[in-house]
Symmetry: C2
Subunit: 553 residues, 2 copies
């Protein structure tokens, strides 16, 4: 069979070291801002690989990290997988029992941990769950007080090692990375990334249709390196030969502004709240943002107001992206197409606020309950299914979840979306939250947005509750603003919905509550409301005449 | 084993069809300039796949093309491999016996042939060699007078077919393409491209470090589609969602200028002579080149004067690229690094005239006769070895050639190069032409360039001839310009070489000849000269005292 050599991360490291030896890696750490070049980075990565080999680690062994974004964490990104081991990045914000489950499930043999997270790991430590862990390495120059054992500091771990390593020829099927989904319900599910998946995702991140990374770029991933490889940017930035800036532990908006200004950051990336915080900071403080060209926003939907403010006030392009742990993670990017730059700004922002266009190399379908593809008209919606060379086809040791979330190598994303005529995907709901009424789907998110636009509403959430005839019907749970007339508000809200959507989208009930129950991560906990309402399941007689889906709507 | 779906061409076709349905494919054909959209392109590609299926073709069958650059040829690029068959592009400029060898070796079952090439194929036809060919399809609306049989025209072949095709899930190891190297000596060697190799090469072509293709680009490959997939541009242009312009059979400089002007071409690509021709044309004729941003030059070295003229006179960036049939084909691209744009123009042109930087995803080494890597100092040279996901590791059914040209999955390119401190590769010779003297290498190409800079020299070539003590010594064969004093010229030439290179590079002999023998493709035929000189092998006594490699030089 004809063929070529395997797709692995090694060439990216090699190329940066050899062709961009003087480009910098800058890192804000517990010890202050540090900087070195790709040449030195390559030396230290080789030292790390030698240290891991000396510690008896090798082919297929899992190495966990419990770290923020800094150069040492970045060293593990190439050092661990390129010597044949598997980099398992652990989210230190998870509850202790999840950390325990993850470490036990992955059977990590060595754990790298940040000085500021040693205490947290001490708390999460459980002898049985951590039975596989043979060594702890603290990411600094010394070891703080801890019960973790045996433990050493990173600089001592590397100190005596050679700065050259004979990187092996790995198979592209070799597991290189691992990350657990932090689902709000159930146990976290492990996703393994092969060398090939990370190679393919890196190559796909580089062009215009991805993140458009160039060797002249200065890239600062604010998204944590434990969140799906910081969206792959440590790899793609290296492949581009660009400069890295890592913001370290718990960066404040002032830290970010100062790094952008001092290091000439051109592209940065993170969740919306980070950028809201930066906008607020910039209103009160002077900082030179002129180097900044692009902010990649993902993790949750980028509010259009954020896109607008960065464009109008700072001439910064917000690039809205969507992905999943299961997708290494990038799937779509909301870049404007040629010609769209002449549209009115509002229409441009509308496109940019969508999740965007699937990037080259992937395929998608949007299917209704019967598995039929829905038309691309910006209105019909269905569940988004995705497949491609950096989309996993299974979870680690979770056959029951595999049955639920995959079909014929398609990943069922659990996101309910519309696709417009130009191919821009927009998430309208989560599959578990969409309300299925009379064979049609109602978006709980769109109803919530409409309700919350009313000044009389402090908070609102809409859930589907069981209904004998229509299967489900929407019920709104509303926290009224202080001093609101509830009866008047109720009528007003129903009218608002009917004005904007088909009449049968109007909630059958508007229930006033004191507070919307929230999950540990602050999201609306619809499950609690659904359970509360279950006993009062709607009966047919309570449904308004015009609640049925109607072809005329 | 964890994994994702296979890397195939299908997603590129799907994405262009669905997300850029209105972008155009423009084609200059025998019937005039034609244009349609990706939407129509997708329909026709599906029709083609249905027609091929109806003709009994499928998994693993080879389909040959004998065609120029036009939309129908482009339809075979996705239609043939995406239905599971293998696209074998045949160079119609080859001598008949090579065409026969190639068709027989590949066992093509169907041949697509251009109307203007039917006569040529008629001549090349040989019943035994073409025994595998079951059908000929002429790329047009009618069939010219021909003995080829059975034969039909392409539009009839497609006419009754459905414009939808259920594209199969192919393995990434499936052979998708095939091209033969047109070596000047020996039989052509077949290179097979798997779906994965073409996928990887496409992804690698898109970013800045490759061709930097964007959806707003208008791409015109002048390099023939039978030359290693037109450097992959039909695939990469589609993946980018850019507009295609195909210049059709035998385009003149006037045709190219007119297509650039009328279609707004932003990026075009071809061998140096094409662009010399265009420069000459533009000196005498008015044409608006303002849309043109980049000319990719490959196939042979881009003269620095061409790079300079396009920059100074037309503000067009020449992107010098190097590759091989064995490499799908792109390996290096001479793009300037960040900061280099502030260098004096001459230094920029020096960099751009080199073959450039290896693109991300590949690895290379430059080795001397002992297999040791030579330093990257812009002076030491050795043979370039390359490996990576779009570099083949074998020839089709040629075990003896495999032994010679591959080692441990490295492709020995046969090019002798220097690499400078910044990683820019420069070809200084072919391995078979480099002169090996006393354990050191002398570049025949650099000597030739120096000799030809003398006004008294019409043509010159330098070959290594066997030498008892030094293994080989350079001998220059010079065609003097009319009226030159040969004795004075000889002394002058030796001095010129000594002034520019180590003294032991000076040719031991300068032999005046009437004409440099040439190969069928117009290149200097050094083999003839070597054979002629063989009887007069140099003896030790004839070597000048200072001809030995000297550590002081």
């Amino acid at each position: 069979m004809p063929g070529a050599t395997d797709q692995t991360l090694r060439p990216f490291l090699w190329r940066a070291q050899k062709m961009f030896p003087d480009r910098e890696v800058v890192s804000r750490t517990h010890e202050g801002v540090q900087r070195y070049t790709y040449a030195e980075y390559g030396d230290r990565v080789a030292q790390l690989a030698n240290a891991l080999s000396a510690a008896g680690l090798g082919d297929g062994d899992r190495v966990g990290t419990f770290c923020w974004n800094h150069h040492r964490h970045f060293e593990t990104y190439f050092g661990v997988p390129s010597m044949g081991a598997q980099l398992h990045t652990i989210n230190p914000l998870l509850p202790d029992h999840h950390v325990q489950y993850i470490v036990e499930n992955a059977a990590d043999r060595l754990l790298f941990v940040d000085p500021s997270l040693v205490e947290k790991l001490d708390e999460a430590y459980d002898e049985e769950a951590f039975a596989s862990v043979e060594q702890f390495v603290v990411m600094g120059e010394e070891v703080p007080d801890t019960d973790l054992s045996p433990v050493t500091d990173y600089e001592s771990f590397l100190a005596d090692e050679d700065a050259a390593y004979d990187w092996p020829d790995l198979s592209e099927d070799q597991p290189a990375g691992m990350c657990y989904t932090s689902g709000t319900t159930g146990k976290p599910k492990g996703v393994e990334y092969t060398q090939q998946m990370l190679w393919a995702h890196t190559m796909a991140s580089l062009p215009e249709a991805g993140l458009d990374l160039r060797s002249s770029d200065v890239v600062m991933p604010v998204v944590p390196m434990f969140h799906v490889n910081a969206w792959g940017m440590p790899f793609s930035t290296t492949a581009a030969g660009a400069k890295h800036v890592y913001p370290g532990p718990s960066p404040t908006p002032a830290d970010l502004a100062s790094l952008i200004e001092e290091e000439g950051v051109t592209l940065t990336a993170g969740v919306p709240t980070v950028w809201l915080g930066l906008l607020d900071y910039l209103e009160e403080n002077d900082a030179d943002m002129s180097s900044l060209e692009t902010i990649v926003i993902g993790g949750s939907a980028a509010p259009q107001s954020v896109i607008r403010r960065f464009d109008e006030e700072y001439d910064v392009d917000v690039l809205h992206a969507w992905g999943m742990t299961e997708m290494s993670p990038i799937g779509t990017v909301a870049r404007l197409k040629p010609g769209m730059e002449s549209l009115p700004k509002d229409q441009q922002y509308d496109k940019q606020a969508k999740q965007g266009l699937l990037i080259p190399g992937l395929e998608m379908r949007v299917v209704d309950d019967d598995g039929e593809e829905v038309p691309w008209n910006g209105e019909d919606f269905g569940e988004l299914w995705v497949r491609g060379p950096w989309v996993t086809t299974e979870y680690f040791e979770r056959p029951e979840a595999n049955q639920e979330d995959f079909e014929d190598n398609w990943l069922k994303t659990g996101d309910v979306v519309t696709v417009d005529e130009e191919g821009y995907v927009k998430i309208v709901d989560r599959a578990k939250d969409v309300i299925k009424s009379g064979g049609e789907w109602i978006s709980s998110v769109e109803l919530e947005n409409t309700l919350m636009a009313n000044d009389g509403v402090a908070e609102a959430t809409v859930v589907g509750v069981p209904h004998e005839r229509w299967q489900e019907r929407p019920v709104a749970f509303v926290v009224p603003a202080a001093g609101t007339d509830e009866d008047a508000l109720k009528a007003e809200l129903v009218e608002m919905v009917k004005a904007e959507f088909p009449k049968w989208w109007a909630p059958d009930e508007v229930v006033f509550i004191e507070e919307v129950p929230k999950t540990a991560t602050g999201k609306f906990d619809k499950k609690v409301l659904r359970d509360q309402y279950d006993d009062q399941s709607l009966v047919e007689g309570k449904t308004p005449e015009d609640a049925a889906p109607d072809a005329d709507d």
